[in-house]
Amino acid sequence: MLPQKAQQWIDERTGYKNFLHAIFLLNFPTQRRSRWQFLWGGALVLMMLVEMVTGALLMTVYSPSEASAWGSVHYIETQVDLGWFVRGLHHYTAHMMIVAIIVHIFLVIISAGYRKPKEFIYWTSLLIGGVIIGLTITGNPLPWDQKGYWSYQIETGIAGTMPVIGSTLRSLVVGGSEFGNLTLTRLYTIHVIVLPVIALLLFTFHMALIRRERLRTAKIREAADDPEIDFQLDEDDPVKDEITQPYWPYQTTRTLVLTLILMGIIIIQLIVYPALKNQHVSVGHDGWEADLPASEIKLEAPADSYIPYVARPEWFVRFLFELRHLVPKELEVLVTAVLPGVILAVLFLVPFYEKVFGEKWGQRLAIFVYVGGLLIISGISWYGIQMERNAPDYALKRSQEIAYAARASWLASKNGVPPEGPDSLLRNDPKSMGPLIFARHCGICHTWNGHDGTGQYIMELKDGKRVKATPRASDLAGFATTKWLTEFLMNPRSPKFFGHVGAMKGGDAILNGDMNDWADSYVGPEGILTKDDIEAVAALVAREANHRDFKPLSEETVKRGVSVFSGIDFKDKSGKVVDFYGYCAQCHAMKAGDPEEEGGGAAPDFNGYGSEKWLTDFIRKPGAERFYGDKNIMPSFEESKLSKHDLNLLVKWMRGEWQRPEQEK
């Protein structure tokens, strides 16, 4: 601190002491009666300061563009020292501020802080509340993850339904009709400059009004207490029971206590909440296992309209979103534009209630409207969240979202974010895209562990009820593995394999075709082939696929497999070499199982069966001579239907080939 003399020297020339007193409310008289109530305003100021400091820090790393927003936030969370803490503080403090402003306004209402001459103080606090909500709405989409992206879609959508100005407003904010780089730069500008400046101006105005009002009260008291002045207060004048007390240090201490308590809650929240957030869903539904524990998922997956995500708005606009779904389409504008307007008007008009109903009832009405409104709004939001969580496929959808979030985070930490943007992390990842491509192209006929690859089922209407549709072709999970092939050979007609194809045109030739006759003649209790024979030949064929977890075959298995495949040296149950007419090479070609190179030809070629190349060629043209020829009933997927990129991802996914965490160890 400066020595007394220097302080005085400067003060004589600048008057800084008075200035500081004015700014920091050092000698600002406060009502004693409401001293605990007005702490919330002070706490809001201190929290705003936290927001400004943490916000400025985040600005030093954050980069508002589609290609880098997500990556930069992920970088903050994972690479920057205490980045997670700074970002968490910024995020949760914002939400705490909304809570604080709700409490603050409530306290203002119950202490009649809107009464003459304080109307403008009340109105400015409402406006500040609005700006804080605006800051939260514009802040949440900045990471450009699925959550922010979709909630901003909803919020701008709601803005777009406003009559007359709606669509102009929306395109102004969005920067065009579609979301993109301009959306982010605009959001960023609004979030870091426009709204903070408005908030500061409002705050200055608010404080100036409060100061004026307090000084006035203090003066009145002083005059009333001064025996020299001939001035007495009325018995029922509220100023009568006000004992004023300087803000500093009395109020500052209390304000700091409250602020620190709130910040303590925020810090606990930011440490504990990420781990608890997804507790209510069992992660790993239908194969959607996450690559990271839930507590390490700091961001949802990068914004991408192709990756499924259920849009959920922020909690404080949730009620609008829910109501919007409850009313018919034509009335939507009532909910999205009229209702918020009505809420605003109801709040703004509070000072006039007393004009109509008298002081006592006017205030009661204000309290009733405020508390009642809050209860209704939270009730609707709570109802909406419960409805969503109780929906039958909520667990599936949420665990899918979590799996994507975890996958993207893991890939980003492992490989870095490519320059073209974070969405390519998942777009080029077989594990993430495979199920979607399968569901889209294959899931109409085939199944994957019974579902369509993503865990969903294709539904159809039967007798007026929605039921799971019967698949039309085989289940492809585990395709070309020893297990899958063994099951198939034991019973080609099972519903898992050819069972359903009969319903399709030309399918009967396959269902009741040669493979079926073969199984009838050689497999089963009467058949000559034992389970071991089937398993050996299945393993031999599965070896062609060369799956990542395929274990090398023993020589004995190979020999046995070859004997079944080619019929050479075939031994029956008793170990005697016998003639075997059901050998595979008659119809199927596969060099590894066919020493005499008979070469098959009548049925699909097994050279490289299930390998990347085989699957690619097959899917492109299942009716090729090598494959089903003219018996084929599967549509071919040419480049125009299924791009090379997607086909590659699909095939890799079917074969279980993608970057895995456990491989790194």
């Binding site: 050092l26 400091v53 803490f85 207490d225 004023t244 810090i267 870095g416």
Partner: protein, 194 residues
């Protein structure tokens, strides 16, 4: 600090013992304010400093070794420039492999290989080799260097930055490997960046 006695306030001093009490209380509260205030400031300042300083230490690329050419492909006495191709990580973005710099390799008559970074120690332009004059030349501010990297003339504060080389035999062929590194420009010492 005396400002609380501002004339605007209600007079606390009407009763003298009450006044003593009030003064004590006020002192106590002042202490409380400063303690709580510093706690508040610490909660903000510690993460802030951690955050800021950790983003300063970005780009800590460890020096890497690159296999550039076969020893036999180098012509003795004629420096040749090789581009270093590598992945570049810029904060969160990882770029696909691309040129990140280049080096001059020269082999003496007795087969010893020297490597120089092609980055000019003056202000970082790319140094050329002028075959006719047998010297290195930086086009930006006309720095010239001898074939052994020593300064000849120009504004540069030091000679060319030599890089460590090793010879590795791979399937009978001898390959030149260079440890590529960047150095601070504009100062007399050779001070590695990162």
């Amino acid at each position: 600090m005396q400002s609380v006695h501002s004339g605007l306030l209600i007079d606390h001093c009407r009763f003298s013992d009450l006044k003593v009490l009030t003064m004590r209380r006020r002192k106590f509260l002042k202490h409380c304010t400063s303690i709580l205030g510093s706690l508040y400031a610490t909660i903000l300042a510690v993460p802030a400093l951690g955050f800021l300083f950790s983003t300063l230490k970005r780009g800590n690329q460890t020096d890497r070794t690159y296999r550039l050419t076969r020893l036999n492909d180098l012509e003795p006495g004629v420096p040749q420039r090789f581009t270093i191709i590598d992945q570049r990580v810029d904060a969160w973005t990882k770029y696909p492999p691309g040129p990140i710099g280049s080096v001059w390799l020269s082999k003496s008559k007795d087969g010893a290989v020297t490597a120089f970074s092609s980055t000019c120690p003056h202000l970082g332009c790319v140094i050329d080799y002028v075959a006719g004059d047998e010297e290195y030349f930086c086009p930006c501010h006309a720095a010239t260097f001898q074939p052994d990297g020593a300064m000849v003339s120009g504004p540069q504060p030091r000679g060319m930055d030599e890089l460590k080389t090793t010879i590795e035999t791979i399937r009978g062929d001898q390959w030149v490997k260079v440890e590529y590194q960047k150095f601070e420009t504009g100062i007399a010492e050779k001070y590695p960046i990162g």
